[in-house]
């Protein structure tokens, strides 16, 4: 679909969210709309060769309290391709060690006149906390192990691009499910678009409780491998684990790494995905990462498109610099007295 057709056909105004905090909050239709817009914007920007001015005059702040290069750059590029300005803020330490509260930092950045804040933080719920204190739109770029909605959306976008539809596809998320925000955002999206998600990994990192959400739980990759249409190999989050949940990287790789040998036992058209950064030799071997089934780099490209779509959905239909003042003023008055 052409981007201008998408707008004029009146699909876009169905989007009612001020913030993007999680895929869990979106309906299947809203997800589909986002994917449609992403594809349209990718065409309209000619994959970056053409810059649009849809968000001219808007400023988007990247507020990263956790290390990130790809997500931050992806958001920056997305904003720039739509004609918006960006302001970068990153801090590795927590707000406590800096002596300034996290909210004060965000308010300071917002006071510089930004329309949207893209936030990444190690603690689940921080974007939600910000959304109660700031006037502009908040985009969750990853909150601890909770959600990473744009990653989830770009993964969905990549699968749909390759397969036309997600309906009925068996998609396995392999690895550290317990600590993975990408897994959660994917699970919500896959369920809403009619795919069959499987979570697969060591029992210490994959809770049986996922079954109650309609997700298949598996601990043996070899067992599920022949049924999978897509494998999304999640990174082992060494930094979030308090005690080591498996004996060694070697043993993990033995059980869960995607190797050439395992490729032979997979479906002929299996898609290999990884949200990155990838640990080569841990989650997958270099031959698989760079092989013909891998769409890892397409995910990166689609990431920019998804982020353009999200920025436009949140900001494109509003006056510049005004955020959502009518809503925000009411809220901030209430919330400043009480959190």
């Amino acid at each position: 679909m052409d981007f201008h057709t998408a707008i004029s056909s009146g699909i876009a105004p169905v989007w009612q969210h001020q913030h993007l905090l999680g895929v869990e909050d979106l309906t299947g239709d809203e997800i589909t709309l986002t994917l449609d817009l992403a594809e349209a914007l990718q065409v309209a920007t000619e994959s970056g060769r053409n810059k649009l001015s849809l968000l001219k005059g808007r400023t988007i702040a990247n507020l990263f309290f956790e290390n990130s290069t790809r997500t931050r750059n992806s958001f920056s590029l997305a904003a720039k391709r739509l004609g918006a300005d960006t302001v970068e803020f990153s801090s590795s330490g927590s707000s406590v060690s800096k002596g300034e509260t996290f909210i004060d930092t965000a308010k300071t950045i917002e006071a510089m006149g930004v329309d949207a804040v893209v936030v990444r933080h190690a603690t689940p719920g921080t974007p939600h906390l910000l959304s109660r204190h700031l006037k502009g739109s908040i985009i969750n770029a990853g909150d601890g192990a909770h959600e990473h909605p744009t990653q989830g959306l770009l993964d969905l976008c990549t699968i749909r691009q390759q397969r036309g539809s997600l309906k009925g596809l068996t998609v396995a998320l392999v690895g550290d499910i317990a600590h993975s925000r990408t897994a959660r955002s994917n699970i919500w999206g896959l369920l809403k678009l009619g795919a069959k998600p499987i979570v697969c990994g060591p029992a210490t990192l994959v809770s049986k409780r996922w079954e109650k959400m309609g997700v298949e739980v598996a601990h043996s990759l070899d067992e599920i491998l022949p049924r999978c249409d897509v494998l999304n190999l999640l990174r082992i989050q060494f930094e979030r684990q308090s005690t080591r949940p498996f004996p060694s990287v070697h043993e993990y790789a033995l059980l869960y790494a995607m190797t050439n040998e395992r490729m032979l036992r997979s479906k002929k058209d299996i898609l290999i995905m990884a949200p990155g950064p990838i640990n080569r030799g841990v989650e997958l071997t270099p031959e698989v990462a760079d092989g013909p089934h891998s769409v890892i780099l397409k995910q990166v490209t689609n990431g920019i498109a998804i982020r353009m779509a999200v920025l436009w959905l949140l900001l494109g239909q509003k006056e510049p610099g005004k955020g959502n003042v009518s809503v925000a003023q009411k809220d901030s008055k209430e919330e400043s007295r009480y959190v």
């Binding site: 869990e24 509260t101 996290f102 603690t123 689940p124 719920g125 906390l129 909150d143 192990a145 959190v339």
Partner: protein, 440 residues
């Protein structure tokens, strides 16, 4: 319902005739409407003849109200010394009075911790100067609450501590708890323990279950509490020492305690009122005021706790009052300290979630909040017998009100109950026969 106060300028402040109140005496197990006479700050008679009422008396018409011995809260955090940004003795004790509490047993987790006679005296003297509710101090089990070596418990007892506790920290070391139980038995003092195996709940934010799995917050599994409860019970059996489990919250703990009590172990069991009705799903809001310890559990655990309350497994309800300043609660959830305030909402929570659903009657509730804590700590209270000090609360059991957290007396007002409608609240609180709080 019409209650009215008529204060006589000539009458002593501690002479009162409180009339037409439904009086609950949890120790005697009585529930009757009548009038109570207070003379010189002591309970002087019940339904006495007009001739026996002194000329100089203040009158309180309490039509429609429920009255009884003032409530006693265990391990209440009052901020001083060291955490005055969260609470002060003055604000904490005003909050207590407004909630119907005439006595508060102050937690030892101050800065510095209450592990020397001097720190006990500081609390006692400063609390007395406020002239508000009574304060009984807890002393630490271990020096500095570090959980390593015993504090000077004998000196603390001599200075007047009513019990020993490292709460809100658990006593992680098995050896230390065993030694402490043995040592405290010399003084006939009870240890209040918060049951938690911290290696299982390390950095935990919320109860481990579906909601936690979805939100990706660090887990506090039920078995972390179950194991500690089980360990505590076993050490009570082994030592014969006295132990009170401060706040249980899991189905496993309830069952373990039920079995232990059937063997008549010297064990008492407490619960924070929030754990009788708050659910882990409330964390969906990411409201930092819902981060409490013991954590809000899932329905199955809350149901088990309610059953344990109804069948007598749980002896004492406390408010779990842990004030925490706004700037601390405004941080990211990982960094936010545990706690919610509870003194001023306790009666409302009890009427709404315990009385109205028929879990306990009023005698039962007064037992959990006054006679049982008094007996546990061997302190006055919990009775309406003639000659007792007139520490009393009058409750309006039908008043529907909405919690307005910033308007509460407590300094920090961190509560997930903000804007919640509750039924029932304290309307008058008497300490030593003096009307210290009156909801005008």
């Amino acid at each position: 319902m019409m209650s009215s106060v008529s204060v006589s300028s000539e009458a002593p402040k501690d002479n009162w005739l409180i009339e037409r109140v439904r009086w609950i005496d949890p120790r005697a197990g009585t529930d009757r409407i009548g009038r109570l006479l207070i003379v010189g700050g002591k309970i002087a008679g019940f339904d006495c003849l007009d001739d026996d009422v002194p000329q100089q008396v203040n009158r309180y018409d309490g039509t429609g109200l429920i009255g009884g011995p003032g409530w006693i809260d265990l391990a209440t955090e009052l901020g001083e010394p060291g955490r005055e940004e969260d609470e002060t003795l003055a604000t904490g004790l005003m909050s207590a009075l407004a909630g119907g509490f005439t006595s508060v047993v102050s937690s030892a987790n101050t800065i510095p911790a209450i592990d020397t006679p001097a720190s006990v005296q500081f609390i006692q003297q400063k609390a007395a100067r406020t002239g508000l509710a009574r304060v009984y101090a807890l002393g630490c089990v271990s020096k500095g609450r570090h959980g390593e070596e015993l504090a000077e418990i004998g000196s603390l007892v001599e200075a007047g501590v009513v019990a020993l506790s490292d709460a809100p920290n658990p006593i992680d070391s098995n050896a230390l708890l065993k030694r402490a139980l043995e040592y405290c038995s010399m003084f006939d003092k009870v240890i209040l323990d918060h049951p938690e195996v911290t290696s299982l709940s390390y950095r935990g934010v919320m109860h481990e279950d579906m909601t936690q799995m979805i939100l990706g917050l660090a887990p506090m599994p039920a078995e972390s509490e179950d194991l500690a409860t089980s360990r505590d019970i076993r050490l009570v059996e082994a030592t014969g020492g006295r132990l009170h489990l401060l706040g249980i919250s899991t189905a496993g703990s309830v069952e373990l305690c039920r079995r232990a009590k059937s063997r008549e172990e010297p064990l008492t069991v407490g619960i924070s009122i929030a754990n009788l009705h708050c659910l882990d799903t409330q964390l969906r809001s990411f409201d930092s005021n819902c981060k409490i310890n013991p954590p809000m559990r899932s329905q199955i655990h809350v149901d088990a706790c309610r059953e344990g309350l109804a069948d007598g497994t749980i002896d004492i309800i406390s408010t779990g009052h842990r004030p925490c300043s706004l700037e601390k609660k405004m941080q990211e959830l990982d960094a936010v300290p545990f706690g919610m305030v509870g003194l001023e909402t306790a009666i409302g929570q009890v009427v709404t979630h315990v009385i109205e659903p028929g879990l306990l009657d009023w005698i039962g509730v007064f037992q959990k909040f006054s006679s049982r804590p008094a007996a546990l700590l061997q302190i006055p209270g919990g009775s309406l017998s003639v000659g007792e000090t007139a520490d009393l609360v009058l409750i309006n059991p039908t008043d529907k009100w909405t919690v307005d957290a910033p308007k509460m007396m407590t300094k920090a007002y961190n509560t997930p109950l903000h804007r919640t409608e509750l039924t029932g609240r304290a309307v008058a609180t008497f300490v030593g026969g003096v009307l210290k709080f009156n909801l005008a």
